[in-house]
């Protein structure tokens, strides 16, 4: 209906945003009528979200014409921020920021470079930045999940780990089953997403491409490409992060520094 009134794409998008916003305000009024008073929070969240996303859009508009190298600089900055976020989940693990940064930079960086080199990701910043950020975000989630799970596994199996050490095992052998469990745990959500792809849900990239007028089969294949990249980066990052963190939880004399009670 809106496209009957607006021909300019920006005006049309603004009108669509207004309709979506009004729908959320309608929900807020229903909630308020039910005695759930979140008016202030909802209004602030709607306005903040709108301003932030439009600001990012404006910045992207400005930099999309920039050189490819600028894209890699921006992605490197995103990796550092992602490592900082992953570190918060891994509180209590020594060297968590460094390990997260190396994991995300190596795992995410490798996938971005390989996919760009193979031509799967376009070197234009309009493709490189959104797809790169998607890879980095998934890399961050995988690191957070893997480190959190690894810490939990180690702390609940201190006796087994120290028994292995007391039998003359190398630290990496002593923690191997727990590192494997952590990687497995970080990959399960990605595998489930791939398994239910197209049946239970149609993810963002495909939805966006369909809305943008792409041919459905083309959109579907590209969505698969994105999901496969996400699975790869999740696996690579969690393997690198757990391998690196496993070395940080032992002293040079091969003593476990994490305790069961911390």
């Amino acid at each position: 209906m809106l496209n009957h009134f607006f021909t300019d794409p920006i005006h049309l998008a603004a009108a669509q945003a207004l309709v979506a916003g009004l729908m959320a305000v309608g929900m807020m009024l229903v909630a308020s009528w039910s005695g759930i008073h979140l008016e202030k929070e909802i209004v602030i969240a709607l306005l903040r979200g709108l301003v932030q996303v439009v600001a990012v859009g404006a910045v992207l508009l400005f930099i999309f014409d920039g050189p490819t190298v600028l894209g890699f600089v921006i992605l490197a900055g995103m990796m550092a921020l992602a490592a900082k976020t992953a570190e918060k989940r891994a509180r209590g693990l020594p060297g968590a920021f460094k390990v997260s940064l190396y994991g995300i930079a190596l795992g995410g960086g490798l996938v971005i470079v390989l996919m760009t080199w193979a031509g799967v990701i376009d070197t234009r910043l309009s493709a490189l930045i959104p797809l790169g950020s998607m890879i980095i975000a998934n890399s961050m989630n995988a690191t957070s999940l893997a480190l959190d799970r690894f810490q939990g596994e180690v702390r609940s199996h201190v006796g087994h780990i120290e028994t292995a050490l007391a039998l003359g095992a190398a630290p990496k052998t002593a923690v191997r089953p727990f590192a494997q469990a952590a990687v497995r745990a970080s990959l399960i959500p990605r595998i489930d997403s791939l398994r239910s792809l197209g049946i239970v849900w149609i993810p963002g990239v495909m939805t966006g491409m369909l809305l943008g007028g792409s041919q459905p089969v083309h959109a579907a294949l590209y969505q698969f490409v994105v999901m496969a990249m996400i699975l790869t980066v999740s696996g690579l990052t969690s393997i690198i992060s757990t391998l690196l963190i496993a070395a940080h939880i032992f002293t040079p004399a091969e003593q476990l520094v994490l305790s069961a009670t911390d």
């Binding site: 028994t163 292995a164 007391a166 039998l167 004399a253």
Partner: protein
Amino acid sequence: MTSLPTSSSPKLETRGLTRAVEGKIIVDHVDIKVFPAEVMAVVGPSGAGKSSLLRLINRLDEPTAGAVYLDGVDYRQIPPRALRRRVGMIMQMPFLFPGTVAENIRFGPRQRDEDLSDAALERLLTRVGLPGFMERDVARLSGGEAQRVAIARALANDPEVLLLDEPTSALDDDAKAVVEALLNEIIRAEGLTCVWVTHDRAQAARMGDRVAVMEDAKLLRIALPEEALNA
């Protein structure tokens, strides 16, 4: 402080062994000499520092001061894995790894790329009273059986010194008697040098050639069992 003087050099010796954690001293300047084939029982109330002392001897924790000597060599000069192969440890809980009894017993030798033969494995199992248990899943063992597998697993490394941290305290009375008798028989037959930590004074008297009494992180005395426990 030491009674029962012997003419041989100590197999294991701690000199001024100390560990502090966050400012609290949990082992305070402990000097112990354990001679070849001797069983040193370490007794004391909960929190006396007995288990912390064993962890220091196996170098699972690092001393804040002092050192441990194995055959007169400062143990910091021995690579940790080689040290732990020579100084075996049996803990209060068996902490068996998921899998079969055979996989558990082969674990230690496998760390040095050695494969224990089926015959050698069966000999170890017979030694701990579990013949034919090789392929048994460890999840299906009783507490006493699990601890006997843990003993066989430690023995598979052919240790020179055996550290025992309350090895029978998590078992019921029947299993406790069986495991204690079994350990006594193996230790005496193999001539193993042992440090046996227990809170049970009667067990210390039964098992120890000498008894070290600890309290509040300090070593109070070392003497023959009767003398040490009745002082």
